[in-house]
Symmetry: C2
Subunit: 373 residues, 2 copies
Amino acid sequence: MNEYDEPLFFQVMQYASNADRDIVDMVSGNPDWEPPDALRDGLHEYADADAADFQYGPSEGLTDLREQIGARRNIDSDNIIITHGAGEANYLAMAQAVECSDVNTPEFLLTDPVYPYYPGKASLLDATATHVPVHDDGHLNIDAIQDAASTDTVAIVLNTPNNPTGAVYNRAALNDVAAIAADIDALVIVDEVYDHFDFTGDFESALTLSSYTDRIIVTSAFSKSMAITGFRVGYAVFPPALVDAAQTRHMLVTVSGSRPAQRAVSDALEKTPPSYYASVRNTIRERIDTFTNALETIGAAYTEPEGAFYVMARFDDLPGTLENVEYLIDEAGVAGMPGEAFGNAYDDWIRFSLCTDRISIAGDRLMTFFQNS
Amino acid sequence: MNEYDEPLFFQVMQYASNADRDIVDMVSGNPDWEPPDALRDGLHEYADADAADFQYGPSEGLTDLREQIGARRNIDSDNIIITHGAGEANYLAMAQAVECSDVNTPEFLLTDPVYPYYPGKASLLDATATHVPVHDDGHLNIDAIQDAASTDTVAIVLNTPNNPTGAVYNRAALNDVAAIAADIDALVIVDEVYDHFDFTGDFESALTLSSYTDRIIVTSAFSKSMAITGFRVGYAVFPPALVDAAQTRHMLVTVSGSRPAQRAVSDALEKTPPSYYASVRNTIRERIDTFTNALETIGAAYTEPEGAFYVMARFDDLPGTLENVEYLIDEAGVAGMPGEAFGNAYDDWIRFSLCTDRISIAGDRLMTFFQNS
């Protein structure tokens, strides 16, 4: 394994928690809202289950849960592996890309900016990572991906709705990427963990690109949609030719997902009304408005997220370095994440997570700080 | 990754569940007894916790849980990583052995017989596995380990109390293995998942070998001791010099353990009286007696386990092949595991798990079958 730095956000969170003043935490993507009621009910019910239900379930995941996902996604549940969160799903997907290629120096094409765990996993798998800058609006630069694609490329890894840019890639863009991948015989891995947080109404899963089902792996999790990042229930959908090998690795690394968490998620999937998800989306929309209004007043550049729950902001004379983020913590009482944590393309931006109900306080503090500076 | 066969026990369980008659399942090591009451209580309590408690905990595991383990094990909790079961703990340990060595063709020394996941993990890590036969009584053959040790050896992997032999290795044997490992600069990985199932009273954790703390990794889990194989809560104790690298891999593969499961285990650790463990041990002891009495009557050779909860039996004219195990399912109505699943040394034996309350029925059926055959 190559060198891998601890993600910058651990440093920022540590710094914020040691600060002498009250800080509005806009660093982590841990939902601050309630999970579905049915999830809590499911845990209670499971707590009283037969002892037999406390033992190993199928390694590929509880059958009910896989079938529920299959039905919702309109796919064959045989191709679904329930994983220990999106983290394991992305690990399995990227490992599979390396394993099924015969390239000596495997390379992943990632976007810039990028969710920092992807290059970390590439490094774990002794592969290199090439970062392809996206357009200024956060959308994919297809020409740049085309230029970067090589015979060493084993997979192109995308995240839509995107953390940190908030971009939701459209069907045409996904199709273009899949066509590039087909030309170089690479896989496309699409992390759709924010799929319930689409404000455009246009989000389409990469699973619907029926011409490319043999090379698309989609990963997701219930961490964000059910506000349970600590439960670690995710899944990966593999092409039929790859699912057995991925399942073998899953069995040898984690055996199977944790059963209480799978059981609770399955119950919540069955019983949670669409209004739950819509209500959370509305909350996020309001927070986006509140926060971007403040940024508008300040005169900062900012993203208007099409999806996910992060706003990127660029302040004149305050590039998004770790040092400046710490300065903002001390002087404004608002903690964001340095843009440099996500690569070079947005290294003068700061990412603000909307997982707090104190958005208007944060906005007020930033306005006061920038008016006085 | 090299070829890895699906463990034989899946085939056997499938065969048994398709049989036309009632079968006593002595295949899997899934406890059939009750988990501690405090574990169920802990799940209920967690189900009503604040939403914040449903989010990511520390990647290395809940602090309470690590401190409880550290106190019980008399070790520094900084060296403990809570894993997704013993499966992930052993994966992290074996990956670390490969990662921290500069050997081109890394090799693991395993015992024969062996728990089949260890060679599977070696294969996943692109390493070879050399199987060193144990003595007829299941104890380590130190001379054979010494002879097999080479400069390619990155770790010697042990399991005590042992599945499938039931041997509990004594302190002198562990010390001898550690000395061999020190000579060739290898690690010793000791899987102690059955540590609560020691009938000799002599079991000592490898963590107490204070001369070798820099090269011993101990793994364990609550799967067996709390009858919760489906919860996936285990841990690994690393030498201080290795814990950071192992933690990085843990973060990149699974992020962190599932929080409801960790919380329930932590509550159960705090509140479960020693009588719970003693009572389960007594049950297993009685089952051993019942089953070995039947084997004695039949005139079979058998192991008398010092630990864990398996009995190996060798029947004249019925070697422990998959075919013969299936024959015994059909003709006697008792399902065991073929000895060949564990390597060559016990390939004419059959392993019977004691995780059923129908041991005396199984014994009766086997007596009837062998009296008539």
